[in-house]
């Protein structure tokens, strides 16, 4: 058996936490980009594209993320694509995030008075210009708090990618726990590392929420 000192455990966990951070960032950026596309469909004037987007959102919000990751991990090879856990993790979390972000931002678009659209039209802007210059900037700014709140949820969700074999914080901690048999210490430290990543964001989301309420 390999001897692990306390600092060995901490050092290994912190090294693994890099992947948690990187995966969270990749999924957030990917989710934001795809989420914009979904949002575009969701608020379109075309009934079918609205229905398509609603279905997409309902599908991802109505099934477990773990199933979505499994489908990604086992589904892409069926299409003849060789897939590594990292690719499956990023893609799975990207689609998951896109559904939630689209829905959050849609609530921002809905909260705007219809007059904002009319004003844009009366200025002679066409639909895309209205979206880009008037609607989306306001929708993003009033939904900043829930967007940051979702980022916290996304960071926590990266834990699930350990199950499809992505070597992040939780997977590393399982390996360390198997070697040291000190579950309290190991999982306690993992919880602490996640807490340190998430708590400042939670507080930030809360302060944004308060500012918005006044």
């Amino acid at each position: 058996m390999i001897e692990f000192t306390f600092w060995d455990i901490v050092r290994n966990l912190l090294l693994a936490a890099r992947w948690t951070v990187l995966l969270s960032l990749a999924a957030f950026v990917g989710g934001a980009l795809v989420g914009m596309v979904v949002l575009f469909f969701r608020i379109s004037k075309n009934t079918w594209s609205r229905r398509l987007a609603s279905g997409y959102i309902a599908l991802f919000q109505g099934t477990p993320l773990l199933m979505q990751l499994f489908l990604m991990f086992f589904g892409l090879p069926m299409l003849g694509l060789r897939i590594e856990p990292w690719t499956a993790a990023v893609l799975g979390l990207t689609f998951f995030a896109s559904a939630y972000l689209a829905e959050i931002w849609r609530s921002g678009v809905d909260a705007l008075p219809l007059g904002q659209w009319d004003a844009g039209a009366s200025l002679g802007l066409h639909y895309l210009q209205e979206l880009r210059l008037i609607i989306l900037p306001q929708a993003f700014s009033i939904t900043r708090a829930p967007t940051v709140g979702f980022l916290v949820q996304l960071i926590k969700s990266t834990a699930l990618t350990s199950i499809i074999g992505f070597e992040e914080l939780v997977r590393t901690s399982n390996a360390i726990n198997n070697a040291t048999f000190e579950p309290f210490k190991v999982y306690g430290l993992v919880a602490l590392i996640f807490f340190v990543m998430c708590f400042p964001l939670t507080q930030y989301a809360r302060s944004l929420e308060k500012r918005a309420a006044h």
């Binding site: 109505g62 926590k156 199950i163 579950p183 999982y187 919880a191």
Partner: protein, 218 residues
């Protein structure tokens, strides 16, 4: 894609779904009860209890459920407490859900005007009666939609407890795909079952809430 294995797997899938339903039923009842106590304690308890509940909520909300589950299932035995996987899952789910619903219930309690309490006290009701008969029903009505969403989210999170070998829906899917070698198809079917379950659960809660509380839920 091949679904020839499906007819023989219906029993296993149904068994897994039943366990998932059991998990969420227990979690909903225990979690809601715990969160009512927590929210009341957070507002009216002694200072130390208030602070303890506030920290509990922060810690649970800022750490992954999977880590909480491992902490309970693998950690508690070293204190001499050995839990069945299913009990460990129920405990972890309840503790996790309560952290979210304490905030939700608390917001509901804050939304009931103070005049309601004052009026009830003036009528001679004891403080506990005021809370249970006057304040709580009104608060539950306000928070019912948020509570419903949280219960559905928790049902979806329960997929993770397959990792400590609780024989729920995801665990049965793992077993099936190992037996049939049709991983994608198996997870595809089980994902649809989850989708149906979450839609049915939401429908059930909305209708039930309307009947019991007269709560307006969309």
């Amino acid at each position: 894609m091949a679904f020839g294995w499906l007819p023989g797997a219906v029993g296993d899938i149904a068994h897994g779904a039943a366990t998932t339903i059991l998990l969420i039923a227990v979690t909903t009842l225990a979690g809601t009860l715990l969160s009512i106590l927590g929210a009341a304690g957070r507002r009216n308890g002694p200072a130390l209890l208030r602070r303890a509940i506030a920290w509990y909520v922060e810690v649970m909300r800022n750490t992954p459920f999977l880590v909480q589950l491992f902490f309970i299932f693998f950690g508690l035995p070293s204190l001499g407490i050995r839990l069945d996987p299913i009990l460990a899952a129920m405990l972890a789910m309840t503790l996790n859900m309560a952290a979210y619903t304490i905030e939700i219930v608390g917001a509901g309690l804050d939304a009931v005007p103070l005049g309601q309490t004052e009026a009830a006290l003036a009528l001679g009701l004891r403080p506990r009666q005021v809370f249970i008969k006057i304040v709580l029903p009104q608060a539950l009505k306000v928070i019912y939609p948020a509570l419903t969403s949280q219960i559905v989210i928790m049902m979806l999170e329960s997929a993770v407890v397959s990792q400590i070998a609780v024989r729920e829906l995801t665990y049965e899917a793992d077993m099936l795909q190992a037996r049939t070698f049709r991983s994608f198809e198996t997870y595809f079917v089980v994902t649809l079952v989850y989708l149906a379950l979450s839609m049915a659960l939401r429908r059930l809660l909305v209708t039930g809430g309307r009947r019991a509380l007269g709560a307006g839920v969309s």
